[in-house]
Symmetry: C2
Subunit: 217 residues, 2 copies
């Protein structure tokens, strides 16, 4: 329909279905592993079998990225990877501040994968004096007051909340005051922010709920 068929170009105004958006990174990971195994082409039916889904849905998802397959051959793994990476903006590095350097926070900083997927945590923040001044991998941990200087050197549009639950709202408020545009909230707490601020909640409890439900059905 209104899909852009100018190859390798992003559908900027076009809203991509969120389910599609959520599936694409999974495909990407799969394609990367195919590449490691020197597999050059893959068909939608193979992909569908791997993810236990309908092949049509796969082609639809992939078509959003502008990639073109070849009849009887399938899709080029290289092109798939390239198109998805570009489409999801995983190629342009986005800086992020992380607030709350506890277990989860440290795990995220140590998580190499994120960098590969377009996100670079450039600084950690905490209110615990015992943590401030430390360094986790290449990421230094700062106190709240150090923000001004830091933000001038390495500005960030994304703020990650990995604080204890009850500190989520105040942290969000702080981030908004700092000019953060998108908040990635890893606490189960729902946070209140101005209309124009993007919030994405990552709740492992939702996944847990799904597992328990399937298990006990």
């Amino acid at each position: 329909m209104k899909l852009p068929n100018n190859n390798m170009q992003k559908a900027d105004g076009q809203a991509v279905p969120e389910p599609t958006l959520r599936r694409l990174p999974g495909y990407l990971s799969y394609f990367k592993s195919l590449k490691i195994n020197n597999i050059e082409f893959v068909s939608s039916s193979q992909i569908a079998a791997t993810f236990k889904m309908d092949a049509t849905l796969v082609t639809k998802d992939l078509s959003y990225t502008g990639v073109k397959g070849r009849t009887k051959i399938g899709y080029s793994v290289d092109k798939l990877i390239e198109n998805i990476v570009v489409f999801l903006d995983f190629n342009t590095q986005e800086n992020a501040f992380l607030f709350g350097v506890g277990n989860l926070g440290k795990a995220l900083i140590n998580y190499d994968g994120l960098k590969q997927y377009g996100l670079k945590i450039v600084a950690g923040f905490d209110i615990d004096p015992a943590v401030i001044g430390l360094q986790v991998k290449e990421v230094k941990i700062f106190g709240v007051d150090d923000f001004r200087d830091l933000s001038r050197k390495t500005p960030a549009r994304i703020g990650i909340i990995t604080t204890p639950d009850h500190r989520a709202q105040e942290t969000a408020d702080l981030m908004v005051a700092w000019g953060i545009k998108a908040i990635w909230n890893f606490t189960p707490q729902s946070i209140k922010v101005p209309e124009n601020i993007i919030v994405e909640n990552t709740s492992i409890y939702s996944d847990l709920a799904v597992i328990l439900n399937k298990l006990n059905r």
Copy 2:
């Protein structure tokens, strides 16, 4: 329609929409914070405003749990909490084995929240001799060989994969051989398992994709 109106009883055969299932833990967290603030009643419109969603959808979601609201008063916070907890099986403790005691694995073990939501990690596993024998919080870390004994003492139906990506499949295979019924996969790798095994993938990359998309639109 075919909703069970026998109060406080779970709709066992009835399939609950997964979106509903995913939203319930968020509500629950919110209700718990209301309770801490000594708020006894809450209306669907208040809940809807908090989560920026339609009030009708809230009532629908809540109705699945069998909770009943009072006109002009709203829902009892206590009853909401109780019904959601029961409905999601967060009250009956489910044991889990965790494989891959790296940063993320440790973070999950240290995460107190999980226990409160029905999941208890009873043992960690790793192939790194430097890690085997250690103890993270109350959770001991074992080698693969220790499984038999352990599984007799504290059986578990859920297996958590927090290994490096390229070890996901072999870990899954092992878990299936162990008799694990549901696998919670924290790697982006898609894993192949027998038909009857439940798999839930937690991919923070999906959330990241959504954030970047909104940010760059």
